[in-house]
């Protein structure tokens, strides 16, 4: 998951808005989650609330701290500081999650339900299009509004991404599956029921493999683990509610009836970090097989977790009573909520109490789950087979075709990246996860372009490819990080693996020259900005033209010239040079100070800092220190 920038995080935390970078849309868009707004907060106009966020259970989120008034524009940092202060005052000090995976004497058991929006052109039961950011209530068929006399027509093609997801999760595809009505009243559910697959889901008995590199808890061991998937079912999304000031709710029916899948795992997870890793891995998998629309960060994925604890002294004991925490919208929330709920349950049990089966909620940044409704307050959903909808019959030929054409799954690709390009697991995972899989496509295109320029010597090229991976991960990210508020500065990756702002060929040119030491790293980075700002081809036809016109080729100093420069740099720095006599630990800092002087005194554009360092180090050893010793 990409790192969230503070501005985005604060917009999310304080104004309930999410920016979205899904695999189908890469523009930033404000999105209003269902939030109780204070009258001070400005009302979102329909145009601002556009990404469809997935509905799970409807609960109105309470403020993080019920005692504190919801601030208008308190800076995020101050808010987090205050929160920390408050917790310190109450004596609750948050432990680092990594050290908090296990409580001695207790075993935690977690099962997860993940809801994900499917990548489809049409709704599940009507011909209306799915949409992200169109005007509210413009993609609505009669059936979507539950107009009396209208009927559902199952859109066969919505099955394809669902099947891909189920296959990526190694499920058995059921030849016959059926749709059921799940009844409950809410204004975002026009027919009074959601159509889902309760009795006969379309996929069962899958599994997901989690490896240490996926971020599982250390306690789960170095071999990784496999978590069973009980079933995958298709269902309808609900309408989107736009909360307005004064207890007014606007409803946008564009989202109602959009296809979702619900993935239900077996209760086989025993550590909070592993639960978070599972959700993250599911998101990566769904993305890789093009089954989903957007990830958790964009509201396209939500998780509910079922948490129970039992004492470890009796291995034959049944699982403890579980509670459900609904509507978790980030990987961290999954982990934090499980830890908090586990600790709450253990505290209750150790005090001699019992755990009630109930539904609980979680707000970001809090330390406790809160009760939403008790078992007796639970809705009886009165599941009934939908009498209008025939069973779906899925042929083996379709399943085989989808399995054969699914392509490489992320684990195989990560292994390949690590082996072929010497990437770390972390970098390989990031490369795959970023921009909904478009970044890795871009990477492959850059590699192809570099191979065309370098020739086929694979061994020689390895270093250059690593350079490319590093740049595509880190340098490209830097281009947008300082300007995150401006949507126009998005990199504009495409599904074909092109990048609107930094085309493949331009980056390959820069990387090639850098790799061949024909330009310096500093110049290379400046050239990247030139490309990003569109000055190629506006001002210069190509990268090499830019270098040529601006005289940026790297004409490095000769060793003699470096040595002369080193002499100049140590001039009058005897105190510094002294440090290099009889040091306990090599004074690297002082060395870099002297290198810095070299760069300042000489022609910067002709100096490679690495070479300058090498010369300075040698000169100190062979020349200046012996000279100092002689004095």
């Amino acid at each position: 998951m990409p790192h969230l920038r503070p501005t985005i995080l604060s917009r999310y935390l304080l104004q309930g808005q999410l920016s979205a970078r899904g695999c189908l849309n890469s523009r930033y868009r404000g999105y209003a989650i269902i939030a109780a707004r204070t009258s001070r907060a400005s009302a979102p106009t329909p145009g601002h609330a556009r990404v469809r966020a997935l509905h799970t259970e409807t609960t109105s989120p309470a403020p993080t701290d019920p005692d504190a008034p919801v601030p208008g524009h308190v800076p995020l940092r101050k808010q987090l500081k205050d929160e920390a202060k408050r917790q310190k005052a109450t004596g609750k000090k948050k432990r680092k999650n990594a050290n908090n995976q296990v409580v001695d004497g207790w075993e935690l058991t977690v099962g997860i339900e993940i809801h994900a929006q499917l990548n489809t052109a049409k709704k599940l039961f009507s011909g209306a299009s799915t949409s992200f950011n169109d005007d509210p209530n413009t993609h609505v068929a009669y059936f979507d509004l539950a107009t009396p006399g209208s009927q559902p027509i199952f859109q066969n093609e919505t099955l394809i991404p669902g099947l891909r997801a189920a296959l990526a999760l190694e499920c058995n595809i059921q030849q016959v599956s059926t749709f059921d009505r799940k009844h409950y009243f809410h204004w975002d559910q026009p027919s009074g029921y959601q159509i889902t697959q309760y009795y006969e889901p379309f996929a069962r008995d899958g599994r997901i493999l989690l490896q240490p590199r996926d971020g599982i808890a250390a306690e789960d061991g170095g071999e990784g683990l496999s978590v069973g998937i009980k079933q995958v079912q298709m269902e309808q999304d609900t309408a989107k509610t736009l909360a307005q000031p004064g207890d007014v709710h606007w409803i946008d029916f564009n989202r109602v009836g959009v296809p979702l899948i619900e993935i239900i795992t077996l209760p086989e997870i025993h550590h909070p970090a592993t639960a978070a890793a599972l959700v993250r891995k599911v998101q990566i998998l769904l993305n890789a097989v093009d089954a989903c629309v957007s990830g958790m960060e964009a509201g396209g994925l939500r998780a509910d977790v079922n948490v129970s604890v039992r004492r470890t002294d009796d291995p034959a004991a049944p699982l403890g009573q579980c509670t459900e925490i609904k509507n978790l919208s980030s990987f961290k929330a999954v982990e934090d909520a499980i830890i908090a709920e586990r600790d709450r349950q253990i505290a209750v049990l150790e005090a001699g109490g019992t755990i009630a089966g109930e539904t609980r909620g979680w707000s970001i940044g809090s330390t406790e789950t809160r009760r939403l409704r008790a078992k007796e307050g639970e809705v009886d959903y009165r599941y009934m087979p939908d009498p209008d909808l025939a069973p779906i019959v899925i042929g083996d030929d379709l399943v085989h075709h989808l399995r054969d054409t699914m392509g490489e799954l992320p684990d195989v690709e990560v292994d390949g990246l690590m082996k072929d390009f010497g990437l770390t697991a972390k970098d390989a995972l990031s490369l795959i996860a970023l921009d909904g899989g478009m970044r890795i496509e871009y990477f492959w295109n850059v590699i192809d372009a570099l191979t065309a320029r370098l020739g086929p010597d694979a061994l020689e090229n390895q270093l250059c490819f690593q350079l490319a991976a590093n740049w595509i991960l880190h340098e490209l990210g830097r281009l947008t990080s300082e300007r995150s508020d401006d949507a126009a500065h998005d990199l504009g990756f495409t599904v074909e693996g092109q990048c609107e702002r930094v085309p493949v060929d331009h980056l390959a040119d820069i990387l090639l020259y850098l790799h061949q030491h024909r330009i310096t790293a500093k110049i290379a980075k400046e050239l990247l900005w030139v490309v990003f700002r569109g000055r190629i081809p506006d001002q210069y036809p190509t990268v090499s033209d830019a270098i040529e016109q601006e005289g940026l080729w790297f004409h490095e100093l000769s060793d003699v010239e470096y040595a002369e420069l080193a002499d100049a740099a140590v001039e009058g720095q005897d105190d510094v040079v002294k440090q290099f006599v009889n040091y306990r630990q090599y004074p690297q800092g002082k060395l870099m100070f002297l290198v810095g002087r070299m760069i300042r005194l000489g022609q910067e554009e002709r100096i490679d800092p690495k070479n300058a360092e090498r010369i300075m180090r040698a000169a100190l050893e062979e020349k200046y220190v012996p000279a100092m010793a002689k004095q």
């Binding site: 027509i153 009243f185 009934m384």
Partner: protein, 513 residues
């Protein structure tokens, strides 16, 4: 509730007949009917301007569609139901007022409407017109329309036809599109047609080929290839064939023993037997048959239909259409969403069935009610499949072992019980009751009226009610008013064409007005 139906033997019923078939009725044919028979086919609909009455739960552009419920008061559905489109294409005009009905089709006498209660036609104003499509039956009876659209979920077209002396036809499930028809119980709902004679109905279904028209907007509309397959196994759809025979030679009619219930009015019972005798006199064979699951059918129906209704009616919350009770600041009553709107918007019978359905679907009760009822439904269908000569084209080949059969099943020969072309039964157990009696009835009493119509609905079979004469005591003024009953013909799935043709032939022999 117990809806177990006690029955006595048909021979006992036969003994009840003391009066002779009224003289003069037998050979009478109205001149009008003869001419319409000759006119049959396409020509009848060339007259642009034939009037069509549309039940208030079927969408017709330009008219409100309220289902006779306050919760949909003033509601207009912005498209035409497929059946309305089909009939408009034949040049029919929708009459200015939607036909009254029971609220959401829930009722047997068209008395649960939120707006106006329907009553029978002069001189029977004090009597029930039947329900739920009572307004449609009245419209064709009093001449407001030549053809009327109703819906039949458990007898809602056949029952009013029986009470008003008109013809009411429920086609095979899946034949006529339900797009634009507000659902009561989707798995049972069918669009039904009413007219004074069989002819305009069979013209629309067979002559104008409605039977072959698949509607892609209705997921339960039979797909074209299945229609073709079903039709290939049936006779009577091909109009180019030889002229239909005037008699019933070669046809077998079954009289279901279980339908001879204690509650059956003696005059209706006699009318039924007279009809059977008439068929025999016209060369047909009449045999008793047994449908052992009949006694459970009504219970199953009153579990399944309310369950689906409770689900379907969840959508009425007053937010997107219909009437919203916005007294006070919010819809919530004691924090329950829409409670006020739904509490004031629905009538008592609708609320009763919503509660019934919500209960039978609840996690505690579903296994004992909804699931059991679905099993009974399959038994009912299997009963029918066993007695009909024709097999059910929607089922795989079925075998019926003698050892599995109920011991009450009578054997025709050592090979098994008789198999029939049609089943012959009364439509309603009594002539139309007085409205004032209806208002005194318990809901259970009125549910009982559906006992003969529900089985065909559960099995999705075509069924028609035609008027029949019943014996009249010349000294009894009421009997002279109520001189007719409803005679029901049920056929095997997709045998609609033969059901209509047999009903057309039979009606002139059993009804004299």
């Amino acid at each position: 509730m117990s809806t177990h139906v006690r029955h006595t033997h048909i021979r006992a019923a036969q003994r009840v007949i003391t009066t002779r078939w009224r003289a003069g009725n037998i050979q009478r044919r109205s001149l009008q009917q003869e001419t319409t028979v000759k006119d049959s086919g396409v020509e009848a609909y060339q007259n642009v301007g034939l009037r069509l009455a549309v039940k208030d739960n079927i969408a017709a552009r330009g008219f409100p569609t309220t289902c006779a419920s306050n919760i949909l008061a003033g509601n207009e559905i912005p498209f035409d139901a497929t059946i309305v489109t089909q009939l408009r294409r034949l040049g029919m005009d929708v009459v200015a007022r939607k036909a009254g009905m029971d609220e959401f089709g829930m009722g047997t006498h068209s008395t649960t409407s939120a707006f106006d209660h329907v009553h029978n036609v002069h001189p029977l104003e004090r009597y029930s017109a039947g329900g739920s499509s009572g307004g449609s039956a009245v419209a064709v009876r009093n001449g407001t329309a030549e053809l009327a659209l109703g819906t039949d979920t458990g007898g809602s077209v056949r029952m009013p036809a029986a009470y008003t002396g008109t013809v009411g036809f429920k086609p095979s499930y899946g034949m006529l599109s339900r797009w634009g028809v507000v659902p009561y119980a989707n798995s049972l709902d069918t669009v039904g047609l009413l007219a004074r004679t069989v002819e305009p109905i069979s013209t629309a279904i067979v002559g104008r080929g409605f039977y072959s028209e698949h509607d892609p907007r209705d997921p339960t509309s039979l797909p074209s290839h299945v229609r073709t397959r079903c039709t290939a196994q049936r006779e009577g759809y091909d109009s180019s064939g030889q002229a239909p025979k005037a008699d019933f030679r070669g046809l077998t009619f079954g009289v279901p023993l279980e339908y001879n219930i204690e509650e059956l009015d003696p005059r209706i019972r006699r009318g039924w037997l007279q009809a059977a005798e008439k068929i025999q006199s016209l060369g047909g064979r009449v045999v008793p048959v047994s449908l052992p699951s009949t006694k459970n059918a009504l219970s199953a129906y009153y579990v399944i239909a309310p369950a689906e209704a409770a689900s379907n009616l969840s959508k009425y919350d007053g937010i997107r259409y219909g009437r919203r009770d916005s007294d006070g600041t919010s819809d919530a009553l004691n924090g329950v969403l829409y409670a006020r709107t739904r509490g004031t918007g629905f009538g008592n019978e609708v609320k009763r069935r919503i509660l019934l359905g919500s209960y039978t679907l609840s996690s505690d009760a579903i296994d004992n009610y909804f699931i059991q009822a679905q099993k009974v439904r399959q038994l009912v269908r299997r009963d029918f499949d066993r007695v009909f000569k024709l097999s059910n084209p929607l089922q795989d080949e079925q075998t019926f072992n003698l050892s599995d059969m109920d011991e009450s099943v009578m054997l025709d020969s050592k090979l098994g019980p008789a198999q029939v072309d049609f089943l012959l039964s009364p439509t309603a157990p009594t002539p139309p009751p007085l409205l004032e009696q209806v208002h005194k009835q318990t809901p259970l009493d009125s549910y009982m009226n559906d006992v003969f119509t529900v089985p065909a609905s559960l099995a999705g079979l075509p069924a028609i009610s035609i008027p029949m004469d019943i014996p009249v005591d010349p000294n009894n003024e009421e009997e002279k008013l109520l001189h007719f009953g409803g005679l029901q013909l049920i056929g095997q799935y997709w045998d609609d064409a033969r059901v209509l043709s047999a009903a057309g032939k039979l009606s002139s022999h059993v009804y004299s007005v």
